[in-house]
Symmetry: C2
Subunit: 365 residues, 2 copies
């Protein structure tokens, strides 16, 4: 077991945080930087908070090599509002956007865009129950699409889509809620990237947006609520409304932590090893089954089943008794799921595989 009788938390989000970050936050919770108050109590327009937010942005810019012509926004609330904001900001009447549907989240983003403005489906993995990414030769890329949208990592079915070569040079938007900071990306491949914080960035309640400044010139929807207009947040440097200050503070610590670990390349290296070890075990097992096609397997959400489905309830119960928390699959997919975000150490994966071996062995008897 890890420090302080803490479990390994395999939940898909809100997810595990590095214990040293929690210890830092704990130590300074009543008195931050000797100011005599908690970061929870600090006004967002104080010099101290603005300096913290600026530094948080600079850390992220450094980690991801974000060019100067991209804005970084720290928005309050869930990433899900982006499903509506993106079409309402960037599509003009008569225009359409292409959505690559590889799981629940891209499906919901597509539905919202279609309902509010206009969108078409580039390809959908639904017929294959989202166990693979549709082959690229079957994709429909309309010449007139204003943008192409995809979700590089789908948490529910554990499906990964690498940046598609056919998107190169086109205007691309990506929901990186579950994969930002977990693998290298090229920012200039995208006009806009967004990510909810509760997987790899901070606690729930913060959404990061990275957007090409030039792309903002497209916006001319005068019926947008000001809070839904990206330009509002750019103009006010994420301080138009009170931002989620504590989440920004945790993001600052998380970005420093990623930097100390060696940056994104190091995170990616660890994530490949962690997921690889678990998939290797699953592929060699006759008791468990990882059904997602190998080329489409997520690095951070490993979905699997017991071949005998009646074992899963007992599996979850015994896993929890062994300090392995939240291994149930998403209610839309069922089965089991181990989320292995940046903060999950290899010891967590090892403990899980040990448990899985023992569980399989005891049930095979």
């Amino acid at each position: 077991l890890p420090r302080m009788n803490r479990v390994f938390n395999f939940g898909a989000g809100p997810a595990m945080l590095p214990v040293e970050i929690l210890e830092e936050a704990q130590a300074e919770l009543l008195n931050w930087q000797g100011m005599g108050l908690s970061i929870l109590e600090l006004g967002h327009r104080t010099e101290a908070f603005i300096a913290l937010l600026d530094d948080t942005e600079q850390l992220l810019r450094s980690l991801l090599a974000i060019p100067a012509h991209y804005e970084v926004l720290f928005l309050g609330g869930s990433a899900r509002i982006q499903f509506g904001m993106i079409p309402l900001n960037f599509l003009h009447p008569g225009e359409t956007a292409g959505y690559l549907v590889t799981g629940l989240w891209s499906a919901l983003a597509f539905e919202e865009a279609k309902r509010l403005m206009s969108a078409y489906c580039i390809a959908s993995g639904e017929a294959d129950k989202f166990q693979s990414v549709p082959p690229v030769q079957d994709w429909v890329i309309q010449d007139n699409a204003t943008y192409l949208y995809f979700t590089p990592n789908e948490t529910v079915h554990g499906v990964r889509t690498e940046f598609p070569a056919v998107f190169q040079g086109l205007s691309c938007i990506a929901d990186m809620t579950s994969c930002l900071l977990t693998e290298p990306i090229t920012i200039t491949d995208y006009q806009l990237i967004f990510a909810g914080a509760q997987k790899n960035i901070a606690n729930a309640g913060l959404t990061l947006v990275i957007v090409n400044k030039d792309w903002l010139a497209r916006i001319d929807n005068t019926q947008l609520p000001l809070m839904l207009d990206y330009r509002t947040h750019v103009k006010h440097r994420s301080l138009y409304a009170t931002p989620p200050t504590f989440n920004c503070y945790l993001a600052h610590k998380m970005f420093q932590w990623v930097q100390r670990q060696g940056g994104i390349a190091s995170m990616y290296h660890n994530n490949v090893l962690k997921a690889g070890k678990l998939y290797d075990y699953l592929d060699a097992s006759s008791f468990y089954d990882a059904s997602v096609e190998k080329s489409a397997r997520s690095l951070v959400n490993v979905c699997f089943r017991t071949r005998d489905a009646t074992q899963e309830a007992r599996f979850l119960q015994e896993a929890q008794q062994n300090g392995l928390f939240a291994l149930a699959g998403h209610r839309a997919a069922g089965g089991l799921r181990a989320s292995l975000y940046n903060a999950m150490p290899m010891q967590g994966v090892d403990a899980l595989i040990d448990f899985m071996q023992n569980f399989a062995h005891s049930k095979d008897k």
Copy 2:
């Protein structure tokens, strides 16, 4: 000075929290309820979180005597999005709403409603620089207004508007961001109440909405983003998107704390004493000046000035050296402001008055 070398934080929000709540949060930050994980890491669909959220709602219902036909929503992000949501949800094309403009926040809400749908001004305190509430005999209450909107406490100029008798029986909506839980209210006077959390409820990033279920039947705008449709959040019991889990946890502690203090009546009693003591001192002073008309003075944001405006920079500097933090007025109003929300103890007010006396005395020499 209070415990742990903590200052008295007079900031208007994010604002001071009771130190015992911070101590509780600190003690359990790495291991909540013996679960072996932090509340920051707990999934929002776990039994434990859902039980916490249910209990948080029940505490609020009990504190405010919220009837069963009102819904309580815990939404992520800033309250400011309500400025757009309210007209977009509740106004049909051709309808209008009346806005009572008594300060910056109601003025901004009015502008957004007018821009997105249609709204008219019941009365405005702007000509008086928001130093009073316009006399009720000058108000325009249109018979056909769908709702009447007001901001019972305006933080920037420190202006309070009691529930207007002329609103009785009409559909009323109130922004209670800075006053919810600080004084008794009658929920059934309102169709909808909202409040950002960062004054009296929790840390920044949570917005509470209390809404009459019957009123939701008005909503028929099919062009609303799902995240902006109140019905979405009602249907999914605030779990449509990932809610700001840590803020909900702090709100739970805060509601328990208010209950332990004797509930809203006790909070109101203390707030009247705290603000009364400071206003009495200001009114007796020849050095300071509280300019808001007596009948309109806020209980929680006491705005004042030094009669010699050149003293204010020095005042702020020396106050901070004496552990009295964030006494600057809002940048739109200037001057000085002491925010005395529920968590500010009488000792804070006493320390402020002591300092003000000494400061005035030293400058009068």
